[in-house]
Symmetry: C2
């Protein structure tokens, strides 16, 4: 019996004691985090599957993992020998975890779940699916805790102040803005459970989660109250006093649900897609609710002038590291052994030399040749390909700096490339440029704009299976909502101050991957008799490999954008790059 089988065996015993016929492990934490602290890597613990998305269900006789197209190969490998069956999502014949439970269990069965690990919306969905088959849900304890030896504790990394110098708005200002939005929404208390929202609202940062400068905690904020629930050991004494002097009540992380239990007669704003069901059920009944996209997420997504100024400075430093990296790559490949893994480490090292650098913003994706076509590639020292002086290398990476977060992808020719590769690259680039050039009225949503990035590809029978743009936090998570640029409908408008990625791509499976990703900020363009028109300003400062471009495929506007972009990069980077790289920079940014 392998470890996973053993764990499932022991979970079944706990399920028996808890009186449940099936147990659902959503794989998330009480904060609906994308990146998890060790303690909450429950999906990996129970199944061995390391992907970032997937639910596990264990019944008395079966066990299954539900995940999507991104992870089919990885899941098949990692589940091998565990007895856990892979259920594929986002395929035509997909059966959701909820529907599978309804179809598999007998009426009267009991499905157990730790309500801390499921959102209100997720719980309602599960409930409505199961109740049609008269299957009940039982809210259990964290059953995994009983079988998880040496489980990591909650992280205890210190929390630090994120000064107004970087954040732009003080805690008091943010509280006031939030109170204004609460009043507009006929609510008076906002529950904050997402860690990035908490960090933003309280101008605090931490290091409890890889890549995300957040700390575990909860918040409750209204016009006259600002409560922070986090492990008090994490807050240095001086900061504690500062926060208390500002009128912030500090409470223990573990006291949050208990505190909520005493809240009554309030009009509480919750985001059902992220608030966990324990939190909701602690306050429901005694309070009124207003449900909607987190108001903190709305506020956070629109960057203020200080944040934007920080982003702009960050981009220049990030650009310096990237130029140095490309130079190193081009001068070393073929001369010494460089693997994708080594290249990723080198890039992180070059970024770490930059001012205000705190860490990487995600695991770098460095994909050579066929690896470039694997969207969720994660290589290690063992399986990394060696980069040779031919073909194409894609690298998608980013840094966390005190004054901003970066996320950028470049695809470069490491040696000879084919005409097909250049053609494909240029067609993808056309989409990136067209989206950069977009002008649109106030009221436009991401799903309206997405086609700009895809149009040239569609005309050539090409496409890519992921979104085009995600929000990016300011010295916060590299993925943030509530808006996005993708085909899927998202009701949130794209408005000035939002920082988004622009990353159309193309993957020839088994051959190569092409992606050019810039960060952009939405800006005002003009006001006419027909309304207020918006557009984007590109933030990222790194040349696009012109040796991969078929110039004839670009139209005048696209070509002008490219040449202007390179001119601006040259102007921004030359003053800060070592003199011996000036000729290289000129070469990379030469007008075509």
């Amino acid at each position: 019996m392998n470890t996973i089988q053993d764990r499932i065996f022991r979970l079944r015993a706990e399920m028996e004691k808890a009186g449940v016929d099936a147990f659902v492990i959503t794989g998330t934490d009480p904060h609906a985090s994308e990146y998890l602290p060790e303690r909450w890597k429950t999906r990996a613990f129970i199944s061995g599957f390391n992907g970032s998305f997937g639910s596990v269900v264990v019944t008395k006789t079966e066990a299954g993992l539900w995940t999507d197209t991104r992870y089919f190969l990885q899941a098949e490998n990692e589940l091998s020998g565990s007895g856990i069956k892979l259920h594929k999502l986002r395929v035509p014949e997909a059966v959701s975890m909820e529907d599978w439970l309804a179809a598999t269990l007998a009426p009267g069965s009991v499905v157990g779940i730790d309500p801390q690990t499921i959102s209100l919306a997720g719980f309602r969905n599960l409930e409505s699916t199961l109740e049609k088959k008269k299957i009940n849900i039982r809210e259990t304890d964290d059953l995994l805790d009983r079988i998880w030896e040496n489980r990591a504790a909650l992280p205890e990394n210190p929390v630090f102040d994120f000064p107004v110098e970087f954040s732009g708005w003080s805690r008091a200002e943010k509280q006031k803005m939030l109170a204004g939005l609460l009043a507009e929404n006929n609510a008076d208390l906002h529950v904050v459970t997402m860690l990035d929202e908490l960090a933003w609202l309280f101008n605090l940062r931490g290091s409890d989660v890889n890549y995300n400068p957040v700390f575990t905690g909860f918040g409750l904020v209204g016009e006259t109250e600002m409560l922070l629930f986090t492990d008090q050991k994490k807050i240095p004494q001086a900061l504690k006093e500062q926060l208390q002097n500002e009128g912030i009540e500090l409470k223990e992380y573990i006291s949050f649900l208990r505190y909520l239990g005493q809240v009554q007669n309030r009009k509480i704003y919750v985001d059902p897609s992220t608030v966990n069901y324990s939190v909701y059920s602690s306050v429901c009944g005694k309070n009124a609710f207003v449900e909607g996209t987190s108001l903190v997420a709305h506020l956070k997504s629109v960057k203020n002038e200080t944040e934007l100024a920080g982003f702009r400075k960050t981009m220049v430093r990030d650009g310096v590291a990237l130029i140095k990296f490309i130079y190193w790559l081009k001068t070393h490949v073929g001369k010494k052994r460089i693997t994708e893994y080594v290249a990723g480490r080198k890039l992180a090292e070059l970024r770490s030399e930059q001012e205000n650098f705190v860490g990487e913003s995600f695991t770098p994706i460095v994909g050579y040749k066929a690896h470039g076509a694997m969207v969720h590639l994660s290589v290690n020292e063992e399986n990394a390909l060696e980069i040779e002086p031919e073909g194409i290398l894609l690298f998608d990476s980013g840094g966390q700096y005190l004054d901003g977060t970066t996320d950028i992808t470049r695809t470069v020719a490491i040696g000879p490339v084919t005409e097909q590769q250049k053609r494909d690259f240029t067609i993808v680039l056309k989409g990136m440029i067209r989206l950069s050039l977009a002008e649109f009225p106030y009221g436009t949503k991401g799903c309206h704009l997405d086609i700009l990035a895809r149009k040239a590809m569609w005309e050539n029978g090409m496409n890519y299976g992921h979104g085009t743009g995600h929000g990016i936090g300011h010295f916060l998570n590299v993925h943030e909502g509530p808006m996005a640029i993708r085909q899927e409908y998202n009701e949130n408008l794209i408005v000035p101050g939002m920082v988004l990625s622009n990353e159309p791509a193309f993957y020839r499976e088994g051959l190569y991957g092409l992606r050019t990703e810039n960060m952009m900020v939405c800006v005002e363009k003009q006001v006419t008799g027909f309304g207020r028109f918006l557009g984007f300003e590109t933030l990222s400062v790194c040349p696009i490999d012109t040796t991969l471009i078929v110039k004839d495929l670009l139209d005048e506007k696209e070509l002008a954008w490219l040449n202007n972009y390179h001119k601006k990069i040259n102007q921004l980077l030359k003053p800060v790059l070592p003199t011996d790289l000036h000729a290289f920079l000129d070469e990379l940014t030469r007008e075509i």
Copy 2:
């Protein structure tokens, strides 16, 4: 006291008897029709407002009309002196009729409504808004009937067979397709309440409603049953026998609700956005329901080869009428008095000379100069402007032919025009062409494509306040769902066989309006390793006024599209146009 005040006075007396504090007149009929038979013009009867959209509420002390931006001016004029207050919808400060009722009435109040005149979804919305304020809904009789002297009876125009020669599929084939979709949706009986769906499904047509070749009736269709509820006097004896021989049960219109009352233990498919609440409440309780967009609407929206062949032939005949009209216009304007109204009548007359012509498909919109900027212009003999030999004329019109329905808008220079007008016209045209040229993968929705028609305008700070494309029936309603091309999210895919309009526009208030509208059919383009790609084929056959085009504003692809389009028009129309118009056609379709 004017007529409207008198009617409201008498309605209040009926409300008193019925025990309701407020009465809602939705202004629709039991079939959720856009165009109404006389009997159901309740909105106009009670308020004097003749717009096609709006709800009226009468309370003991107040009366209000809720309508949208299209009709603000018209409503202000028509409500003048009636005591009815205009409530504006689709403006930032809008308060919906439901919210107004909740805010205005005291808890315990009773709102009355004739449940035949509200959809299931509309009823639920009203109910959920009112129940928060503990306001009750009472389903009343048709209270207006008691005060409406000389109200028109239900129309009794004859129903006629629509042969397979035109419809492509027999009634039995349509029943089979519908049964297949019902089974896929876990249902076994479809309630058909929309008149165009009924006409399509039963291959019957009528003339009960202006412009729409439909007849009043209901349908119930399952795998082994096909019931038609319509006034039996309307069906000629021979057709009656034919239908009965095909196994169709014929029942009286007025027996529909009674029949439904006996249906039990079925899985009934209803479209909550269109089925009226009386119909739903007649069958609820004793049956299971599946709710979704009408399956008949889905089937109807995808045209078969016969329907498409009919459309193509229709377009040529419509094109002949249009060329004759443009010729008449250009040779007569300035020489004799021609008003917008006269031009509209002339156009109808020219269409009526064409084979298979049955009638107009909507009231023609002929707008000269400033009138062209009024989107919902409807002129009569009195208020029509005289067309003089200068400036711009917009005409939006269409015909009902046995083998297809047309809807086309052209904007033509009647004499000297300004550079600004040409520039505006060309920018609008760019959008029309870009949407015509769209290529997109299967799975694309209208909201993804809409930007193609607007992009050039947005880049110039221009926009238009209506949708870009609507579905068009085959010898049926000129507006049909379920898909659309517009900014608003619509979950229905654009798939091959759908016929849609493509009508970007631009309006300079008080000056002129510009719109070019073609009909297109969605077609297969290519299949690649990245999926199935679709596009559009233009159906409309009528030149676009090249004297209004600034050639330099068109890119190569746009120009090629235009010249190819004109070449095709020349080829299609020359063989069927009188010889004396050949030179004129050559001039209109000359390559630029």
